[in-house]
Amino acid sequence: MGREISNAPTNQKQQSSMAYTVEQLVAVNPYNPDILPDLENYVNEQVSSQTYSLNANLCLLRLYQFEPERMSTQIVARILIKALMATPAPDFSLCLFLIPERVNICLTMCLYLSLQTSRFRQFWDEVAKSRHILEVVPGFEQAIQEYAVHVLSLTYQKVRRSVLAEAVNIEGPSLDKFLDHHIANSGWVIEKNESKGQLIILSRNEFNHPELKKSTADGVPLDKIARIIPILG
């Protein structure tokens, strides 16, 4: 499968057949401690197969919260990395709300804070330092690059090559390849500028082109009209 870049982290969300049964387990037994080992295995499977289920992971954190003595810090760390990869969805903070303070989550917390405040330089520096931990989770860098593109596309119509490079942490020929991919798939355009070097025109959306915003102001929904018909009649 080719690289798919979109605003939502969709590439994490394909469901395997195993996912189906665990999802079902969670739906039927949301408050059953017996499914804890299944959920733990499922976290590992999500990591190796690049799938993701927020519901299953929240359910597991909930069970840990009810029986702290059964908590595995390694599993918690993996859940947090997967949740980080789901940014801009608020999954990481949803998980944080359920993890007691005494659990050491320094690394992911640190990554989370720089990501939330868009300090990508700091973020990638931190990542470089903890490569051994993050390498275990395939697709991590790619997921964060998607998030960077998401927030850049909300913000910029045109962005300088250097700003983009810093956010996605790619340079030189790799960056050219990255750009080519987006030119082909997301409609990016490169504009050469004498003094400033390359400018990249990002894909248009209603957030960087406010004129695209659909106006819903004048419509009156049908159910409201229905409400006054007996009065008018």
Partner: protein, 560 residues
């Protein structure tokens, strides 16, 4: 009715039912008459009379005879009600509720109350009841069940002063108020009642639930259905107490809160629903959603609170009202979408928090202290659901859950620290260069770029299917080095305005007709407004009419 009897008025020691002066077997005449009548009304399915006795008589007898003592024991009243098993369970449920409200329960009593809920819910779940109980009472059961669970967790977490005997009891009865038990009861009520399917079918017109306020007029029982319905709100609340906002909101999903429903038929349930819904949204950074719902309910309370002055829930209503103003102040400070707030609510808000909100904009230490203060005042009473370690040393951990949620909330505030500064500048420019703005804000250009992206990230929520919604009051886009500001002017919704006025006028005209007809149609009005008008006192036909008209308008706004 019975006059004050020879009841012994010696002060019993609170919480100790064995204290001198309280004889659990002594049944005053008024209590005798209360249980006999209540029992009869329940057998006859006279919801109106049950509601009267439940809301009024129970309170007045409590005030007169049991201000600081428990009601007579269930064993001593059982002979007056044919030893009816279900009635005795209901009686004990009220008995414990009264005890919790006026005295402080002992550990043994907490455990007994848990047992009673287990028995009561088992009976309901196994479908052997054919009663019709008022919504108010069914709501109170779920509400009290969750409250007692929360209270138990707080109590258990204060380990420092526990006696050996208490610890032994806690170990022995480790299933009492166990978090799995609590959640599974609520979940079982939701599932067994098939309420989710009922609400689904109602949308297609195949079933009636909301239209009859959940009552069953064809001879069946409303108990399981309505308990199941309120249990969804109970689950929302429990999950919020645990910090699991996502799951909490998911539990509420089957109830469409943009419309009136059975949850609005009881003021306590209406407020609990919106308070927790709003709070969860606030924690998930969906500020405009929180603001919208707080605004609606605060306006509703403002207009209707006079009708609840005599209700035993009145104090609770006022407290939640104040807390929701605090939450609204927080939401608006993080996301200044003032146009979402109705003028009446806004005036109240300015009066209560105007000055604090000004200071919260500044993002210095004092501003943080204010966020802390408002959050601590208005947040739910978070709980740690797990049992303590009973090994020495015994430590208190009742504040742990609250501290965690507060810390995470303040992290969020801190992350948004520089956004209000950006906002201030963007308000006065239509275009400004990155260089110029960075000079004004006294940061370097790369930092300013991170702040601007943070602004975008924090003001644009992404839901689970990738849809992006903007919460921004002021938006912008950047063309390389130039920031272009876009002010989002709220479009005037004339259609909406006229629709509302038409409904309002119709409401007023109906009221006028009703006043004219009042004398000869007293009876019909009483019937048509059923329980709702009863709650607001005896001779309140006009009040009820106006309220009905108003709830029509409210509904219309709700959909807007």
């Amino acid at each position: 009715m019975a006059v004050a009897t020879s009841y012994d008025h010696e002060q019993p020691i609170p919480g100790d039912s064995a204290a001198a002066g309280y004889d659990p077997n002594y049944v005053p005449d008024s209590v005798k008459s209360f249980v006999v009548h209540m029992y009869r009304h329940i057998r006859e399915k006279n919801v109106y009379e049950i509601h009267q006795m439940y809301e009024t008589s129970f309170q007045s007898i409590s005030d007169r005879f049991f201000k600081d003592a428990p009601w007579p024991s269930v064993d001593s009243v059982a002979p007056y009600v044919d030893n009816d098993h279900v009635f005795c369970l209901l009686y004990r449920e009220m008995w414990f509720r009264h005890l919790y409200a006026r005295l402080s329960p002992t550990l043994k009593q907490r455990i007994d109350s848990w047992d009673n809920y287990c028995n009561l819910f088992q009976v309901v779940l196994h479908g052997v009841v054919n009663m019709q109980l008022p919504n108010q009472w069914l709501w109170d059961m779920v509400d009290e069940f969750v409250y007692q669970f929360q209270s138990f967790c707080q109590y258990r977490a204060k380990m420092k002063n526990k006696t050996e005997q208490e610890i032994a009891l806690l170990r022995q009865f480790d299933q009492a108020w166990n978090v799995y038990g609590v959640l599974n009861f609520l979940q079982a009520l939701v599932e067994k009642s098939t309420i989710i399917q009922i609400l689904e079918q109602e949308k297609e017109g195949l079933e009636q639930f909301t239209a009859t306020d959940g009552y069953d007029y064809s001879g069946g029982s409303n108990v399981l259905k309505v308990l199941g319905y309120f249990s969804m709100i109970g689950l929302l609340r429990v999950h919020c107490l645990l910090g699991d906002y996502h799951t909490g909101l998911k539990c509420l999903l089957p109830i469409d809160i943009s419309q009136q429903g059975v949850y609005t038929s009881v003021i306590g349930s209406h407020i609990t629903t919106i308070y927790h819904y709003g709070f969860a949204n606030l924690m998930l950074r969906r500020y405009s959603e929180a603001i919208r719902e707080f605004n609606k309910i605060l306006l509703y309370i403002f207009k209707t609170k006079q009708f609840h002055q005599k209700s035993p829930q009145y104090e609770q209503i006022l407290k939640k009202n104040e807390q929701m103003y605090a939450l609204l102040a927080i939401s608006l400070s993080l996301c200044p979408q003032v146009q979402l707030v109705e003028e009446t609510v806004n005036l109240q808000l300015r009066e209560k928090y105007g000055e604090k909100m000004m200071r919260m904009q500044r993002y210095d230490e004092e501003a943080f202290a204010l966020y802390d203060e408002l959050f601590s005042y208005a947040c739910p009473k978070f709980i740690t659901p797990s049992a303590p370690s009973y090994e020495e040393p015994l430590v208190n951990y009742n504040q742990d859950a609250y501290r965690l949620q507060l810390k995470l909330f303040l992290y969020e505030v801190k992350q948004q620290q520089l956004l209000s500064g950006v906002r201030t500048f963007l308000k006065v420019y239509s275009t400004i260069s990155i260089g110029k703005l960075s000079t004004y804000m006294e940061v370097d250009e790369p930092t300013l770029r991170t702040i601007l992206m943070t602004y975008k990230h924090k003001t644009h929520a992404v839901d689970s299917d990738g849809k992006i919604t903007s919460n921004a009051d002021i938006d912008f886009y950047i063309d390389d080095d130039m920031i272009h500001v876009v002010e989002s002017k709220p479009a005037k919704r004339y259609g909406d305005y006229f629709m509302r006025q038409i409904v309002k006028l119709e409401g007023i005209m109906t009221d006028i007709d009703r006043i004219k007809l009042e004398d000869d149609s007293r009876v019909e009005i009483l019937i048509s407004h059923g329980i709702r008008s009863k709650r607001e006192g005896g001779e309140n036909h006009r009040g009820a009419g106006i309220q009905a008209g108003m709830s029509g308008i409210q509904d219309c706004q709700g959909r807007g």
